[in-house]
Amino acid sequence: MIRMDDKKGKGALSRRGFIAGATAIGAGMALAGCSGSADAEPNASGSDSAMDAAAAAAGAASCCTGCSALCAFRACLRTAENGDAGIGRFLGSAAHPESVGSLCAYGYASAEMLVSEASASGAEGEAGRGGAPLRRRDDGSFEETTWDDALARIGEALAAAKGQGRSVAVLVDECDPNGRYLYGLADALGSQRVYSYASDGGSDARCGELQAIGASRTVPDVEQARLVVVVGASSGRMTPGHAARLTAARERGAVVVLVDAMVPFGMPAVDAWVPVLPGTEAALLLAGAAALVREGLEAEGASACVEGLDAWRESLASCTPAWAARKTGASEADVEAFLARLCAAAPACAIDASCPGSLRFGNAAETARVVCALNALLGAYNVAGGTFVVPETSWDAAARHYATGSAEDEDRAADGGFVPRADGGAPLARVEAGSLFDLVEGIEAGEIGALVTGAPEVLAWACDAERAQRMLPSLDVSVSICAGQGQYARLCDFVLPRCSSFEEPGLPHVAYAQKPAVCRSAALIAPADDVRPLRDVCCGIAEAAGVESSFAQEIDARAEAFLADAGLSSEALGDSGSVQVASLGVSYGDAPLFATGSGKVELRSAACADAGALEVCGFADAANAAPENGVFRLLVAALPVTSAARASSKAVRAFVGKERLDRMLINAESARTLGIAEDDEVVVSSSSGSQTWRARLVGHIHPGAVFLPLAAVEQDDGLSPLLLVEPHATAGFGAPDLSQATVTVRKVGA
């Protein structure tokens, strides 16, 4: 195990030193970069290109871990000669499909936290970054300890748990490119209980997609589409690339239609908005499929590539516009207009469900299945303006089945086949990313004896803090390995300070597109005192627990092999750390690769039936209490600049407040009927509690829904809108569901 003994003083960047141009591939190699710090060259001036050239020399590839898009960027480094020494501007990678040369507001805001964390001040609300490992005392307070002590104790406890036949669960943040080392650790400990509920959130929808088309990634061909249907957008996940594509499509003459309960902030202009109640979009899409059948617009080859199409086609008869209008709460005129647009544009219709907003809510999995069916019916797969089916790379397939480890599975994965990490049965989400509810129940039932996690706050989805407070201490040991200490981290027995993404090199990751991009980030700055890269921590835990730590080298070797296969070298990855690899993608007319049992799109799923979800893809009438006077469906989401998970900095909250984005959004008409005026204080109540917000009356939200922003206000006073949502799982799939919350709204004093 590599130790980083030559610590640099933490504090100001100038003292930490930059690791510019540390482009060594593979974590093992790049660790060397942590000790040798090359100071950046002065950023020459004169002309744009001279500046960029100089900046390139003084920059390093990095990636944003703000969300699962993992946008690649080049961080320019400043030196004393050209201003204050420190990390300068971030230039998004042009080759990265989600970054397309920039970062989003949240990307900048979260990078800012890392920069200030790396500097002397430290991020607000994130205590103890870069300090020594912490061990929780019985009274809940923490004491500092040494790495040796912490690892020894953790190893002992893990061995004990294993000895008692209790398993070690690993919870991984999927927007962590190095999360694979945690998978490796789980594998070394012989654990199948790997949870990666997933910073892209969409595990539910991903499961639905897996059932319908297998382990492929779908990418809407927005560039060539005549009609783009955005199913559920969100300010929180409008990546720069996504916004750019939608805007370009519209300027090119494509019609862009948004299907969502609201038009979120940061949403590019759309030609039409079909305001639907949350969780009902599948009904609209089914009506679309029915219309295509009615109009005889079904694609020629559809029957050949869809399993069970005949039966499904018949079942569509009842999906009339009137039915869809009733189910979705949209007007019949809006539904008809939508259907007309769909029929007119077929097959160049890109159903764009790439914002997880559409994917992590009630009916998300069903919606994803319906999207697959509709695409197949349209014949939209791999045609211009439709949807690309991009095969999953061997590198990602390996991560997904790594924990099973069997040679047979490895072969299947190598062939691009899907190897479930755990066998079928409920909940289905376990197959894709693990169901957090499964994890929580496993701990409470005593099946799980230890938890090692890089993303403790993720637990918030499945259990509230009180439940976690009872649950986590019942474990033999719980370990949080992360850069900060949130509420859930503070409930763990050990808090191990880990490098930030600016301090440790990342494993390669793939951004799926027609031409996927392969990206890799370097370490930008030398680590603060005592923090270690995740790789080291995982190896250290394995060694202390008396199991093999060679998994790390194996992962590094796989990474090398993957890059070599893709024909990539450090130079090719360039200084933005990102390069398009056409050979990993698809071309128009390629036969779509459906990695299902039949090799076709499957409308019927035995696994779904077993798990208690709909057997045939369709619309599961959700528990959508039809909103009535004073009763609303609750929408909760991040703003473009706030965090979905952690508290925003004071500065961000102040900014958001000043821009009046910290308000509850309510349809102006609905508000008026309740006697609510602009800026009025209102009480929002659900079965889980009541909160007071200020109202903003708008025209861009469904009359039956209200929106509350995440992390827009001080959350310590219990004002997180998430507290209004009882944690619960979706039927059959078992992924966390945020949308099934109904609230009442009334004016304060009324």
Partner: protein
Amino acid sequence: MEFEPIWGAPIAMYLFLAGLGAGAFVAATAAGRMAPQAKRTVRAGRVIALGAVAVGLVLLMVDAKGGFLHPWRFALLLGNVQSVMTWGVVFLAALVVIAAVVVVRDLLKKSVPFGLEATGCGFAIAVAMYTGVLLGVVKTFPLWNSAVLPFLFLVSAMSTGVCAVFLFARLVCPNEVEKLAFLEHVHGWLPWVETVLVVALLFFVGLSSEAGAASVAALLTGQWALVFWLGFVVVGLALPLVLHLVQGRVGAGVRDACGAEVHGACPRVESGRACGAVSDAATIVGGFLLRYLVVMAALPVVLL
């Protein structure tokens, strides 16, 4: 965007003190010329003038954070002849210097040349108007951007200045008060003029633009209504007016009943003094609230 007032209480206080100081200087000069026997009052007026203006300037400097952290930057204050603030600084500086010379000469019991005092009065009036012009040239805020404001502030400055001088006289040397009857007469009328000007300001501003109307609404019925009505109108305007009327009668009665020489012993004189003091203090409070409200309630023009 949620609008936050740019300046707060310190600047309102600065505008108020500069005005009060200017008013006090003028009042002291007038008293010194027309009632030279009222020596203590005259001297106090001069000291008040110097003190108020100086304290106001310190407030300005503390609020100007960049200058506070790098005081030598204040040397640049004359850097832009176009700037009203530059001119204000010239006026203020001149007033401070003149007031200081006057006070020193007074304390040294030397005569104060009329020319000096007259020049000082000129600067004092300039300072008083400047406090209004400073805000008045700012087009962003309709509540400020009005030709009425400099005159309103001028009147209020004179009013508060005179009241400060009177307050001192009433509390410390009541025997000098009567010698200042002519000033008392003038200062009794100032609130009336001020009322007319305030009504005019609100009327014109309210009609001028959306933001103007919103600012006026904020004063009359909105966020600032309580301070405006209770503080400024009732305490700052109505109370002095009423007291002035009452006090006039009380005072008159005193003279009839007890004769001119009687001081202190007569309860009616006592209550007349108290009335006057309360009225003066109320006017001073009202003067501050006027600046404060004008600074705080102004809303910017809507751009979109």
